[in-house]
C-alpha cells in the first residue's frame, strides 16, 4: 500500500461496464484498493463508474483500467476534459454497447434454447426422460411438426442427437455465456463469489455432466446408468439469465434518465468574439476569459459574467424557478440557461468540470451512487450469501443422492443446479441502489438535490423542522420601510455609510435605500462587524453604530424615546435597526423582509405529515413572532446569535427530536451540520450546494415537505424491495432444494429457477421505477 501523502493524490473516474450485482462492484473495489499506488476506491454499481484516488507517481490510469479489466469487466479511460458530462456520455456509450451485446447473445441463446428443446424430445423418447422439464411439453407441437416435415428424423440415433445438442449448446456456453465463467473464475481467484459463481457452477456442472455422457454413453449404459443429458437446461438457464440482465440493463438505464436530462441541457457550440469577428467553436475549445455572444433564444454556453447587453434569462432548467431572471452587465450568467429576449455578451469564467451544471451532475451522480445505511444489511447478507448457497446446493445433492428416487444421482444433480440458479442474489443487490438512484434523480428534476442514501434515510425519521427566518421563511431581500429620527436623511446617511462594508441583508437594504435617495455615502473608518448584533465605525469623524437591541445593550444604551415605536414596528413584522451617533440613540430605521408566499403552505404540509415547525432567528422576539404567526409556526426562538443556533439544534436533539435545519447554507453552516438533516436554501443558481445534506435549488419552502415526502416514499420502496428479495430467496431456495417434494411431489427445474430469478430482479427495478411515477403525480 502506498505511503504517499494525500496531497499528491489525483482523482480519476473510470466508466466500468458489465457489473450486475453488488458483489461485482465490491470485488472491483477490492482489487483497485489492493493496487499499489491507490489510496481509495469507490465503485458504483448503478452509475457504472469507479472513482479512484491514486498517486500518479506510482500508478498510471492505464494500469488502473487494466486492473479492472483483469477482474473480467469492461473499463475505458475517461474523456480527457474530465467533466461530468463527458463521463456520463462515456457511461451511456458503454451501457449502449452492453445492451447491444446482451441482445445479440440473447437472440443466439433463445434460438439455441428452442432448438435444444426440440431435439431433446426425440432423444427423450429413445432413452427416457431422466428428470423431465415442464417446458418440454410446450415444445411438443414443434417436434410433431418437424416429424411431419422430415419423417426421417425418427431414424436418427440417440448418440447423434446428443452430439447435435452439444453442437447447439457449445456456442451458448462458449460465447453467449462466456462472461459468466470468466468473471466467476476471476472472482474465485480473489477468494470471492458472486452471482456469476452460482451461474457458472450450476450450468458448468450440468454441461460437464452432459458432455461426459455424450463422450462415454456406451460405458455409462454398460454400467447401468441411463445416458441422459441436460444441454437444454444449460441453454435455457443462460438464455433466461441473459433476458433478465437485458431487461435489468434497460430498466437501470431508465433510472439514470435524470442525469441524462441534465447532460442534455448543455449546448454543443459557442459563438466566441475573436479579433472583432464572431467564431462558432465547439464547447470543448472554450477557455476562461473568452467573450461569447448569446443571441435571444440561445443557451448561455458556460458560466461567466455579463459584460454587455440586457436580457431575461430562463434558469428554470437548473433551479426549477419558472420566472426568467433579469441580467445586466456585472450579473453572473450560468451555462446551459436560456437567454430569452435580448443579446448578451458574456465573459467566460468557468468551463468543463467547474461549471454549475457540471457540479450539479457530479453531485447527483455521487448521491446516486452513495450507499444508504440500510444497504449495509443487504451487503452483509450478499457477502456470505453465495458460499452459503453453494453449501446448501452440496447438501441438497447429498440428500437427494441418499434419499431421493431413482435415478438418484440425476435427481441430485438437477436439484443442486436448481438451488444454485434460483439463489442468484441480483434482486438483493439492486433493492437499495435502484431506489436511491430513482429518487435522487427525481429530486434533482424537482430542484431538490439530495446528497445520497444516508440523508434520505435520516430525512424519513424527521419530526422537527427548524427554519431560519431570513432568506428561508422570508425572501431575504429586505427593504427599508421607514426612517424615524430628527433628521431622517442624515440618519440614513450615517447608517448607510457605516453599513457599506457589511454583508448582512439588513445592511444592504439600508445602503440600497440611501443610494436610491441620492445620498452621498462615505467610507467608514475603523469599521467593525459585531456578529449577530450590528456594525460600528467612524463616519465624518463621528462614532456611528447600527444594529439591534443586543448592540444597544453591549454599548450600555437603551432605546429611550424610540422604545415604543420600535415595539410597534416589531409587532408589524418590521425589523428596527437602531442608529447610534456619538453614544446616543439618534433614530430607528425600519426594515421589512417580505414573507415567501409558499411559507404558510409548507408549514401546513409539514404539520399534515406530523412534523413540527420551529423558527430560529437572530431577530427580535416581536418581529419573529409576527413572521411566525403569518406562516403558521407556533414555536419561535428569537434573539439567537448565529453561534447559539447550533446549541438550539442540539437542545432539541437532546430532547429526543430528529431535527432538520433549513438555512441559507452559508452563515448557518454549523447549525446545518449539527442537525440530523441540513437543508440549505439556494437562491437561483448561486447556490451553496456543498453546505447541506439537501439543497433546495429554488429557495422555495415547499421544497422541504417535498424532500421529506420523497425520502419517506423512497424508504418505503427500499423496504418493499428488500422484503421481496429476501422472501424470494427464503421461499425459493427450500422449494428448489425439494422441500415440497416429499409431501406434494412439487419440485422446480433449473430452467424454472432461471425464469424466477429473472423475474425477481426485474420486479425490484420496476418497483423502484414506480417510485418515480408516484412522486411525479404528486409533484
Amino acid at each position: 500500500m502506498t505511503t504517499t501523502s494525500p496531497a499528491s493524490w489525483s482523482d480519476l473516474t473510470i466508466p466500468v461496464h458489465g457489473m450486475t450485482c453488488a458483489a461485482c462492484s465490491a470485488r472491483i473495489q477490492r482489487v483497485l484498493e489492493r493496487t499499489p499506488g491507490v489510496g481509495a476506491a469507490n465503485v458504483n454499481l448503478m452509475t457504472g463508474a469507479a472513482t479512484v484516488s491514486y498517486d500518479p507517481s506510482s500508478v498510471t490510469p492505464d494500469r488502473l483500467v487494466e486492473a479492472i479489466r483483469r477482474t473480467g469487466y469492461g473499463a475505458e479511460l475517461p474523456a480527457p476534459d474530465g467533466s461530468a458530462e463527458s463521463l456520463v456520455d462515456a457511461q451511456d456509450a458503454a451501457r449502449d454497447d452492453e445492451i447491444r451485446d446482451l441482445r445479440r447473445k440473447l437472440i443466439l441463446s433463445l434460438v439455441a434454447a428452442v432448438l435444444t428443446m426440440v431435439c431433446s424430445m426425440p432423444l427423450a423418447e429413445l432413452v427416457g426422460h431422466g428428470v423431465a422439464d415442464p417446458l418440454m411439453p410446450l415444445m411438443m407441437p414443434l417436434t410433431d411438426l418437424l416429424r411431419r416435415i422430415a419423417p426421417w428424423i425418427g431414424g436418427i440415433s440417440a448418440d447423434t442427437w446428443r452430439w447435435l445438442l452439444l453442437a447447439l449448446t457449445a456456442p451458448v456456453v462458449g460465447w453467449a455465456g462466456r462472461h459468466f465463467y470468466t468473471r466467476a473464475w476471476a472472482a474465485f481467484r480473489h477468494h470471492s463469489a458472486d452471482m456469476n459463481t452460482l451461474i457458472a457452477v450450476g450450468t458448468g456442472a450440468a454441461f460437464a455432466y452432459s458432455v461426459a455422457v455424450t463422450l462415454a454413453d456406451d460405458w455409462l449404459s454398460a454400467h447401468g446408468i441411463a445416458p441422459h443429458v441436460y444441454y437444454e437446461a444449460v441453454v435455457w438457464i443462460i438464455a433466461l439469465i441473459l433476458l433478465g440482465n437485458l431487461l435489468e440493463a434497460g430498466a437501470k438505464s431508465r433510472t439514470s434518465g435524470a442525469i441524462r436530462r441534465l447532460v442534455g441541457l448543455r449546448p454543443h457550440t459557442a459563438r466566441v468574439a475573436r479579433d472583432g469577428m464572431e467564431v462558432e467553436l465547439p464547447l470543448g475549445q472554450l477557455r476562461p476569459g473568452d467573450e461569447v455572444i448569446v443571441r435571444p433564444g440561445e443557451q448561455i454556453p458556460a458560466d461567466g459574467t455579463v459584460v454587455e447587453g440586457s436580457s431575461h434569462v430562463d434558469e428554470s432548467m437548473l433551479t426549477g424557478e419558472p420566472t426568467p431572471v433579469r441580467k445586466r452587465p456585472g450579473d453572473t450568467a450560468v451555462g446551459a440557461t436560456l437567454n430569452r429576449n435580448g443579446a448578451l455578451r458574456v465573459r467566460v469564467e468557468r468551463v468543463g468540470a467547474d461549471t454549475v451544471l457540471s457540479r450539479i451532475i457530479r453531485l447527483v451522480q455521487q448521491a446516486q451512487g452513495s450507499k444508504a445505511p440500510i444497504q449495509r444489511l443487504a451487503d452483509r447478507i450478499s457477502a456470505v450469501f453465495v458460499p452459503v448457497v453453494i453449501s446448501i446446493a452440496i447438501a441438497t445433492f447429498v440428500l437427494w443422492f441418499v434419499l431421493g428416487p431413482e435415478p438418484a444421482y440425476l435427481q441430485a444433480l438437477v436439484a443442486a443446479v436448481t438451488v444454485l440458479i434460483i439463489a442468484c442474489p441480483c434482486a438483493m443487490g439492486l433493492a437499495v441502489p435502484t431506489a436511491v438512484m430513482v429518487s435522487t434523480g427525481r429530486g434533482a428534476e424537482l430542484g431538490v438535490l439530495i446528497k445520497g442514501g444516508e440523508p434520505l434515510e435520516r430525512s424519513e425519521r424527521l419530526d422537527t423542522v427548524v427554519f431560519d427566518k431570513t432568506g428561508t421563511v422570508t425572501e431575504g431581500r429586505p427593504a427599508v420601510q421607514q426612517v424615524m429620527g430628527d433628521d431622517a436623511a442624515s440618519l440614513l446617511r450615517f447608517a448607510a455609510s457605516v453599513e457599506r462594508l457589511s454583508e448582512h441583508p439588513l445592511g444592504e437594504a439600508i445602503v440600497a435605500e440611501a443610494v436610491a435617495r441620492g445620498l452621498s455615502l462615505v467610507a467608514p473608518q475603523g469599521f467593525e462587524s459585531r456578529t449577530g448584533r450590528g456594525v460600528a465605525g467612524r463616519v465624518d469623524g463621528r462614532s456611528v453604530a447600527a444594529g439591534n437591541r443586543a448592540l444597544l445593550a453591549e454599548l450600555g444604551l437603551s432605546p429611550g424615546r424610540f422604545a415604543a415605536a420600535a415595539e410597534r414596528l416589531a409587532a408589524e413584522a418590521l425589523t428596527p435597526v437602531y442608529v447610534v451617533v456619538d453614544g446616543s440613540v439618534a433614530g430607528v430605521v425600519a426594515v421589512a423582509d417580505p414573507i415567501k408566499p409558499t411559507g404558510r403552505e409548507a408549514v401546513a404540509a409539514l404539520r399534515g405529515m406530523g412534523i413540527e415547525s420551529v423558527m430560529l432567528t437572530g431577530d427580535n422576539a416581536r418581529t419573529a413572532a409576527s413572521v411566525a404567526a403569518a406562516v403558521g409556526i407556533e414555536r419561535v426562538v428569537a434573539d439567537v446569535l448565529p453561534e447559539r443556533k447550533l446549541e438550539e439544534i442540539r437542545r432539541l436533539q437532546e430532547a429526543g427530536r430528529s431535527v432538520a435545519m433549513v438555512g441559507d447554507g452559508l452563515n448557518d453552516a454549523p447549525a446545518l451540520a449539527q442537525a440530523d438533516v441540513g437543508i440549505s436554501m439556494g437562491t437561483g443558481t448561486d447556490v451553496a450546494m456543498e453546505a447541506g445534506d439537501i439543497t433546495l435549488m429554488r429557495g422555495d419552502p415547499l421544497g422541504v415537505p417535498r424532500a421529506i415526502r420523497l425520502a419517506r416514499r423512497t424508504m418505503r420502496v427500499i423496504r418493499q424491495n428488500l422484503f421481496w428479495a429476501f422472501v424470494y430467496n427464503v421461499i425459493g431456495i427450500p422449494v428448489a432444494a425439494g422441500a415440497l417434494y416429499p409431501a406434494f411431489g412439487i419440485r422446480l427445474t433449473p430452467a424454472m429457477a432461471a425464469a424466477a430469478m429473472a423475474v425477481s430482479s426485474v420486479s425490484v427495478v420496476a418497483n423502484s421505477l414506480r417510485l418515480r411515477k408516484s412522486v411525479k403525480r404528486e409533484a
Binding site: 500500500m1 489492493r34 477468494h191 470471492s192 458460499p387 453449501s391 447438501a395 447429498v398 443422492f401 441418499v402
Partner: protein
C-alpha cells in the same frame, strides 16, 4: 446405506467445509496479508 452413499456424504461434508474455508477463512487471511504489506 451403500458405499456410494457414504462416499457422497463424506465428499459432500468435505466440499462444504472447503467452500467455507476458502471463501471465509482463507479470504480473510489474504485480506489481512495485503493490508499488512
Amino acid at each position: 446405506m451403500t458405499t456410494a452413499d457414504l462416499v457422497v456424504i463424506v465428499g459432500g461434508v468435505a466440499a462444504i467445509a472447503w467452500v467455507n474455508w476458502y471463501f471465509f477463512v482463507a479470504s480473510r487471511r489474504r485480506d489481512a496479508t495485503v493490508r499488512h504489506q
